[in-house]
Amino acid sequence: MLSTGFKFWFGLCLLMVVSAVFAGYTTGGTETGPISLGWKGGVGNHVVYTLLMIGAGSMAVMGIVSQAFRDSDLEAASELLGIEDLPQAQNEVGNSWWPVFAALGLSILAVGLVVNSAVFIIGIIIVLVIGFEWTITNWSEKATADPRLNSELRERLMRPIEIPIIGTLGIGVVVLAVSRILLSSSVTGAVWVATIVGIVIFGTAFFISKRPSISRGVIQSILFLGISGILIAGVISAVVGERDFHHKGSHHADKSHVDEKE
């Protein structure tokens, strides 16, 4: 018996094939082109034909998978697992930092494509590291039935690795962002920026140290805003580009060389 999913996806597939052939014949395809995937003759408008045909192929695969899995109905899952007490759709997972960090890594990678190859490489490293961490977390969650124990297993395995790496990466990104800001400012401006940023960091640290009762949330918010500000400013500075550098020696040499020729 054909499942509902198969009917839906295979129906989409058939409609797309019919549309592709119809479009082929109505956009200048030859007699046998549209029905032979262009092997014997023209298919008409290539964009229309290619997209509809590959879309149809994708839907056919989806239809076949759906039929093979019997629409993933719970009755089919019950038979597959051979148990009566079926698992929930999704085992509970707690809050996780990996999604937001992975997204951040991907965004840094994407921005790096435009602004700076070093930023791009940092993005790749972050994505790879988060991918590894995510895998280990998934692995540990399936280790035993006890979530606390699973969490301990993960921490024992990963803490000695991740703390130095995250620390190095975090410092590297901030240093890179600050260097972009300083390089895009004028010479005097860079001095001022460095001075002001130094005073702000020192002042904030002093303020926090004087208030030991200050909540973790406030400290985190301050750090989040500060680092976000530095990163955004770094990206903007990288887009703007570095200031012009005048190398005294080479400029002089070039000039004298021209003079000699004259």
């Binding site: 290539h46 998978v65 148990i83 969650e141 399936k142």
Partner: protein, 193 residues
């Protein structure tokens, strides 16, 4: 101090495979968009009688070798799926490792070939499209290789559950989609030029 620990709860089967099929379809449609533009521009160039690739720029041998390598990887990936479902760990490691190795070989050969063509990306519309399509496919394969390696790490972690079988099946769908995309590149670009 010792404590008795229960095995993990079962997960709903086939969710990973379904997700991977949908993800693979998304990737294939991305390439469909690239192919559609490539074939359209090439048909226009042919219609106007203008040059598409310079004579001799596209050679069959490297593309054919990649196709053969990826065809082999289809076999090794199927071997991995079969081994995992038979609870045969050693063969599963071997098959996953070999698949990753073949993937790396294709990426290596493609990088060499793109350098060997000797044409810059912005030489013509044809080269822009060629580098975009082949580069995107290398990225797709690279993701497949990394996924493969992460699976190996999980396998070495000692997990041999149904979830792990689903993970290998999910990867296999993605990998087959990558090979299917490459077969279009091979026929549509390297052979038909």
């Amino acid at each position: 101090m010792s404590n008795t620990v229960l095995p993990p709860a079962e997960s709903r089967p086939r969710t990973l495979v379904t997700g991977a099929v949908l993800g693979s379809i998304t990737s294939v449609m991305f390439f469909a968009g690239l192919f559609a533009i490539y074939f359209s521009m090439r048909a226009d160039a042919n219609a106007w009688g203008s040059e598409w690739f310079p004579e001799g720029a596209i050679q069959l041998v490297p593309g054919g070798m990649n196709m053969a390598t990826l065809s082999l990887s289809v076999v090794t990936m199927a071997w991995a799926v079969r081994s995992v479902s038979n609870n045969d760990r050693i063969h599963a490691y071997l098959a996953l490792g070999l698949t990753a190795l073949l993937g790396v070989a294709v990426i290596n050969q493609t990088v060499f070939y793109l350098n060997d063509i000797g044409l810059p990306v912005d030489y013509s519309k044809a080269t822009t499209l060629l580098f975009t399509i082949v580069g995107a496919h290398m990225t797709m394969l690279g993701i497949g290789v990394i996924w493969n390696l992460l699976l190996l790490i999980r396998a070495f972690g000692g997990q041999d559950t149904r979830r792990h079988q689903d993970l290998v099946s999910a990867l296999s769908f993605y990998w087959y989609a990558g090979v299917a995309v490459y077969s279009i590149i091979w026929i549509g670009i390297y052979i038909a030029k």
